[in-house]
Amino acid sequence: MAEVVFDSVCKQYDDVVAVDALDLTIAPGEMVTMLGPSGCGKSTVLRMLAGLVMPDSGRILIDGNDVGGLTPGERDIAMVFQTYALYPHMTVAQNIAYPLRKRGVARAERMRRVRALAESLQIAPLLDRRPAQLSGGQQQRVALGRAMVRDPSVFLFDEPLSNLDAKLRAHMRGELIELHRRLGRTMIYVTHDQLEAMTMATRIAVMADGALQQYGTPADIYDRPANRFVAGFVGTPAMALIDGALLFQDNRAILGIGGLTVDLGIRRFRDRPVGTWQVTVGIRPEDVTIGNGPFAARISAIEPIGHETILTLEAGTARLCARVAGSSLAAVGETVRFALRQHRLHFFDVVSGRRIDEIGLAVVDGKAM
């Protein structure tokens, strides 16, 4: 097990800042997913750790050792690529044995370890085949085998499931979780698929524009997004983000969004500021309850998924989604009444986009009233 530390690591390609002063400490044995949209720098982070890309500045430490001067082969790291990167002219057995061969492990020992690994990955009958003769799922297992065979202290995965069909992807997610549990190694997993990130990770690092947005458990990320980007990126359908105003009056907070007025009471804001604050309000679809409630909205779209139905609502100028169990009898254009789970609303500073929390407005955004 190994601890991985990024210490103000920067990387720039020509004019584009790929990674901007990344500080991140990954505890030993974690399964961390780096989540973010294309071009957010997550792959660059992985490749810098692997030694395939050199950082412009900053240090990367594995178990306290600066790996800046080590070649990829010396870093005790294995990587599974999106394309699997199996050597096409070698058999499955030769592919898996390759890292051992390059490290001078004797032939008999190589064969023994390859065979044992093939048994555990259920690819023993395929050992004499070539990658081109395998299905995507089988190639994936061979790539895993090649990563596992030399028992590295850190595993890296670069979108390893994106070339598989949906059913196989779900199955392999389960296998990777099991693999992590069994090996207990530090694993870092790059993906743009939030379902993979949420289901597999012990911790998620959300990245955007080369900067780390939030590092926390999946529950943290979902329930307490650190800023507007994380709030909008994680969750399907996305959290509605609506600009509004918070009015503090007589020790009560009153929220005005898109023509709706919500009395939040006094419990949320410790500092009990006064006056009007411009905020962005985040509302997850499951926190909108349809049927009864103080608000009215027009249904502008209905997406039945089977076990649930997503309704898109227009209330005044605000647009938000609601999740309804089962199928809905409502029709587009109808007006429905709804309520909000007030204690589940999220607030973000309009300017900085950062989360405004129970700690108080004045403390979080640094503006005194």
């Binding site: 395939l52 990829p72 790291i77 690529f81 999106q82 050597y87 002219h89 890292p99 390059k102 490290r103």
Partner: protein
């Protein structure tokens, strides 16, 4: 009764198939005709001539049977020329592949002015042979050639070297100039293949602990094997039949030390005015070239 009432299509499937077959023949007819005109007819004529004694200036022809072939295979000229041809072909081909692969690897890297270097490297291949040979003969000239001058200045030799007039210099020089002239062909083919090798394979190999030489032998070479086989076959055929470069450079000399089979054909046809003998030599050359392609065709069929 039901059988009598069965509906019959106006046109039977057999008739339709016949009509398609006729259209097919019509469509390939132009190709077949052109190929016949430019390949089959000259081939047949050569084979016909090789069975006759033909006096080149008058084209007076008399039946000779297999006597031309008998004379060629029992005489020493053919075997000596064949050995010379093989030395030239194998020597220049090996150098072309070596230079070609090395240059392609270099041009595949992210070097500065790569686009310019890629075009410049093709220069020898596009240069007319007669121009290239004239330039080389000047460069190698013993009185005022730059090559001797530079080597003397560097202290490597004391007196000018006779590059083309003695053996083994003449053969070595011809082989090297042939390699210089034709290695860009290897570069183009190999470079194109190199660019299709997935970069992830090299990254995976680096993580697996492979150094640069291991990455070359374990990833690059296996990817190149197919294109190298094809390029080597094509260049071997072309080098085997190479005429103008050798003829212009040495004329086959000194004596007959660089006289390859194509030069013998030319000498027989226009020097000795024996078109029938020349044709017989040409037929034998064709059979040898065909033999060279057999391993490749066998391998291609095995892969299918």
């Amino acid at each position: 009764m039901a059988a009598l009432l069965r509906l019959r299509p106006a046109t039977s499937p057999q008739a339709l198939a016949r009509r398609d077959a006729l259209l097919g023949l019509l469509l390939i007819a132009p190709t077949v005709l052109i190929l016949s005109a430019v390949i089959a007819y000259p081939l047949a004529t050569t084979a016909y001539l090789s069975l006759h004694n033909v006096y080149t200036p008058t084209l007076a022809t008399e039946w000779a049977g297999l006597s031309n072939y008998r004379a060629i295979l029992s005489g020493g000229t053919f075997w000596h020329a064949l050995a010379t041809t093989l030395v030239w072909t194998i020597g220049t081909l090996a150098l072309q592949l070596l230079f070609g692969v090395a240059m392609a690897l270099l041009l595949n890297r992210n070097i500065r002015l790569r686009a310019l270097a890629r075009s410049l490297v093709l220069f020898p291949y596009f240069l007319a042979t007669v121009v290239a040979v004239l330039v080389w003969r000047w460069l190698l000239n013993g009185l005022f050639g730059v090559v001797d001058h530079a080597l003397i200045a560097l202290g490597l030799i004391d007196t000018p070297v006779d590059w083309l007039g003695t053996m083994p210099n003449a053969m070595a020089t011809t082989i090297v100039i042939g390699a210089w002239k034709f290695f860009p062909f290897v570069v183009i083919a190999v470079l194109a293949r190199l660019q299709t090798v997935p970069a992830h394979l090299y990254e995976a190999a680096r993580l697996d602990g492979a150094g640069s030489w291991a990455r070359f032998t374990d990833i690059t070479l296996p990817h190149l094997s197919g294109v190298l086989g094809l390029v080597a076959l094509l260049r071997m055929i072309w080098d085997f039949r190479e005429f103008d470069l050798i003829y212009l450079l040495t004329g086959g000399g000194p004596l007959d030390h660089t006289r390859t089979l194509p030069l013998v054909v030319y000498q027989q046809a226009f020097g000795l005015n024996q078109m029938g003998m020349a044709a017989a030599y040409a037929v034998l050359m064709m059979l040898l070239v065909l033999a060279m392609t057999i391993p490749y065709l066998a391998r291609a069929r095995g892969r299918r």
